[in-house]
């Protein structure tokens, strides 16, 4: 006789753990199943090289809703926020570079490139903050369906309309104009400096199979500025690496009476008469469950974990057609010394961006359109050991680099050791143009192609966000139109990964909103013991 759970959560990613926490705190008996030995999904910190702790996949915890930290009391469960590094440094060579951060030196830094741009910086930054702020308000609730006749939906839609109007005439129109724009056009409207535009425009294409001249990338830029104090991309740094967020969530979950099993993969989700009935483990064990929260991407959930026979073909077709194109690769480095960009060490505490112009980004994307890896890739590097020395042996450093564009589907050949290492070399060569001491400082390296990310983290195509953040796949259309509220056509099955609204970036929000929906819909169900 085994215990029956109110909810079984598949995956111990941040979103799933957030959902599990809220459910457990509401008094439900919750079981979390994770097939890896480390928790956190893509937010993991591992000792990739002896003595070096590396954020294997995600380089930072993104924007974590302070409400979640507070509700779940994460600081008492070991989450220590070291700093919020609100900086992006874009080296231009010869030790110089653009520095965008929350401080007066930003204006001086821009002015060196273009005095005109410097004078426009504050109005731009403030506008981005307001527009992204409105977006954030949409991200704090399950999207109401525009076609719904339900009163609650109508009120929610009315609320959105009022908030949009509340932006004022200028910002409201700017929001509506900005969202479908190519980020390149938006930035050309404001600025003349290539470096500034490249650095800002990168936020519009991050983890997206599109270049800055593609429509809708201005939305992606806003998306990546949610929760930011301006046109800045701050990085929340927590002690011990990004994985410590999952550890804190797991401890909070345990304290609420939740049960967690790691290193036990789920084979499939059983459905009976349109309802979830159990989760079957890879070993064959069957765990009865009337509610399942799945953190896997929608394609994997509906095409692999669930027998598709239980789903309407129209729905399946939509799931199959979710645009999801892996484009990013990750390079992790163990360094014997700090890379020398010829600048002050403090410049390197935020994100180091290699995107010298919009054209550079567009050309990097061009290659991937035809299935090739960018010759001159767009890079975003962080050196977390600068803020948290505990991650590397004394005097040494870890560096974590996201690289775009590395298409999941290559025109020629397949991803394998050769292509993977060639990509690693290309990334290092590119960085070495700005920090010549880097190649010699590398003690060890780890390269993850989109295929590697797929096989290690179970994300289809290694897509970090479980679905492209294009305008046709956000808000009430995420993951598919009509099913944006975490429930699925299978009764009792909920999604909680970044494949759902609001997508990757605002960490854990999908899980937060999924749990809220589930608790709202909770009905008294007889607990069955099997």
């Amino acid at each position: 006789m085994s215990r029956a759970y109110d909810a079984v959560v598949i995956g111990a990613g941040v979103g799933e753990l957030v959902a599990a926490n809220y459910l457990a705190r509401a008094g439900q008996r919750v079981l979390v199943l994770e097939d890896h030995d480390v928790l956190g999904g893509v937010h993991v910190t591992e000792e990739a090289f002896p003595g070096f702790r590396v954020d294997t996949c995600a380089s930072d915890i993104g924007f974590l809703n302070p409400q979640i930290i507070q509700d779940l009391d994460l600081s008492t469960h070991g989450l220590e926020v070291l700093s919020v590094e609100s900086g992006v440094f874009a080296p231009v060579g010869n030790g110089d570079g653009l520095l965008l951060r929350d401080g007066a030196d930003t204006m001086a830094s821009i002015a060196r490139l273009s005095p005109a741009d410097a004078s426009r910086w504050m109005p731009f930054s403030e506008r981005i903050a307001r527009l992204a702020g409105f977006l954030w308000s949409l991200y704090c609730e399950a999207p109401p369906l525009p076609t719904s006749k339900d009163r609650k939906d109508l009120f929610a839609l009315l609320g959105i309309g009022r908030r949009l109007r509340g932006l004022g005439k200028v910002d409201m129109l700017e929001f509506l104009r900005t969202v479908p724009m190519p980020v390149a056009d938006l930035l050309d409207d404001w600025f003349e400096s290539d470096v500034l535009k490249g650095c800002l425009g990168a936020a519009g294409v991050s983890h997206l199979f599109q270049g800055p001249k593609s429509a809708g990338t201005a939305f992606v830029m806003l998306h990546h500025h949610v929760g930011q104090p301006g046109a800045l991309r701050s990085r929340t740094v927590v002690r011990g690496g990004v994985g410590s967020l999952a550890s804190a969530l797991a401890r909070a979950f345990g304290a609420s009476g939740g049960e967690l099993r790691s290193e036990t993969g789920v084979d499939r989700i059983l459905v009976r008469a349109g309802r979830v009935s159990a989760v079957v483990m890879q070993g064959g064990e069957e765990i009865p469950a009337s509610r399942v929260v799945c953190g896997a991407d929608p394609k994997r959930t509906f095409l692999e974990l669930v027998d598709p026979t239980h789903l309407d073909p129209e729905f399946l077709q939509r799931v199959q057609h979710i645009k999801l194109q892996g484009v990013a690769a990750k390079v992790n480095l163990a360094l014997s010394e700090l890379p020398d960009f010829g600048c002050s060490e403090t410049n390197l505490r935020g994100t180091i961006s290699i995107a010298p112009s919009l054209d550079y980004l567009e050309r990097a994307y061009d290659a991937s359109k035809y299935g090739r890896i960018s010759d001159q890739p767009y890079l975003e590097a962080v050196i977390p050991s600068l803020v948290d020395p505990s991650l590397a042996p004394s005097g040494k450093h870890v560096m974590s680099v996201w690289m775009q564009y590395a298409p999941y589907r290559l025109q020629e050949g397949e991803w394998g050791p050769e292509t993977r290492e060639a990509l690693g070399d290309r990334v290092i060569d590119t960085l070495a143009q700005y920090a010549p001491n880097l190649p010699a400082a590398i003690m060890d390296r780890q390269v993850l192609s989109p295929r590697d990310i797929e096989s290690r983290f179970g994300f289809t195509e290694g897509h970090f966000y479980q679905g492209d953040l294009t305008l046709d796949q956000v808000l009430f259309m995420r993951p598919v139109p009509g099913w944006s509220r975490y429930a699925t056509p299978i009764e009792g099955l909920y999604l909680a990964g970044p494949g759902t609204h609001p997508g990757g970036g605002p960490t854990g929000m999908s899980g937060y909103l999924a749990a809220r929906q589930m608790l709202k819909q909770r009905r008294r169900q007889p607990r069955s013991t099997v």
């Binding site: 026979t309 239980h310 309407d312 073909p313 129209e314 399946l316």
Partner: protein, 395 residues
Amino acid sequence: MLKVTPFHPRTAALSQGQAWRRWAGHTVLSSYELYHDREYSAIRNAAAMIDVSPLYKYAIAGADAERLLDRVLPRDMTKAKLHQVMYTPWCDAAGKVIDDGTVSRLDDQQFRLTAADPNLRWLHHNAVGMDVTIEDVSDSIAAVSLQGPTSRDILKGIAEADLDTLRFFRLTHASIQGIPATISRTGYTGDLGYEIWVDAGRAVELWDRLIDGGEAYGITPAGILALDIARIEAGLLMIEVDYVSAHHALIEAQTSSPYELGLGWTVKLEKGPFVGQAALAQEKHRGPAWQFRGIEVDWESLEQLYAEVGLPPKIPTVAWRTSAPIYVQGVQVGYATSGCWSPLLKKYIAMAHLESRYARLGTPVHMEVTVEHRRKEAMAQVAKLPFLDLERRRA
């Protein structure tokens, strides 16, 4: 560009009036002779040979072939026996009929599905994650339907197959004077009859063998007009005439569930999951809004309507496929979609969609008829389908 069927060299040569019509992208004959009466008579009194090659045919094979069909079709495919043929509609997720046809179990992991419309895409959509191959064999397989009381005798004379034991809705593999064929005891006429499936390359040969072997039994090539009368007598539905495919309907009101088409018997709600299951379970519980029924027009009433304008009663010479309103006490309660004069029953019959509460057998209704350019209402009554239930069909 319309295609011709594999039998075209023979059918074209026999055409007296060039009465070609379209069927699923092919040209076929409405009738071979100038009038279809003799062709119809062959169906009921001898044997008619009807080229049914335009049917869409899909070969479905693989470990999950049964699973795929069980998911797409409302019938319980796990119960399909070797060489069994099943008539079945299939539905979309809302439980509305997309198409209807037959499914034959050729082997443990091999089936053939016939359809009136292209369904390849739909089948593929439903095959997500399944180990199954779906091949459109519409062009590579020719089919001829041999229908009528002498059809068995004709086949017995030329086919190496045990036709005496071949039961209704079963098939057998046979050799027809050296031509490998599949013979199924199926048809669209409500009579004793068979459908013969051969490689398209051997179609003309098969035609000649059948004509030679059937001459003594009155074998007669028949066109669609004759078939249409026979199928109405037999109460058999025609897509886009008697119902609108859910894939083609412009508004929801145009769609029909199997329950509304008299096909509730094909829906096995208690089997495993299939497309439309939940919607159909709800509809069954609620009771369908519509029923599909026969209508028998009262002869004396029709005679009276014509007498009023000084004419003798006129009956349709071919089956009609328009929509005729059905009234009860002046209020429209349904519409007939196919109708004809039944030469065998000597009755003016039609098939109609009726609101469920007016569908009881024997309910007196009126059907709209046009008499000398004016709309009139002829008295009629609700009748059971099929109109014609021949013993020999199954015997």
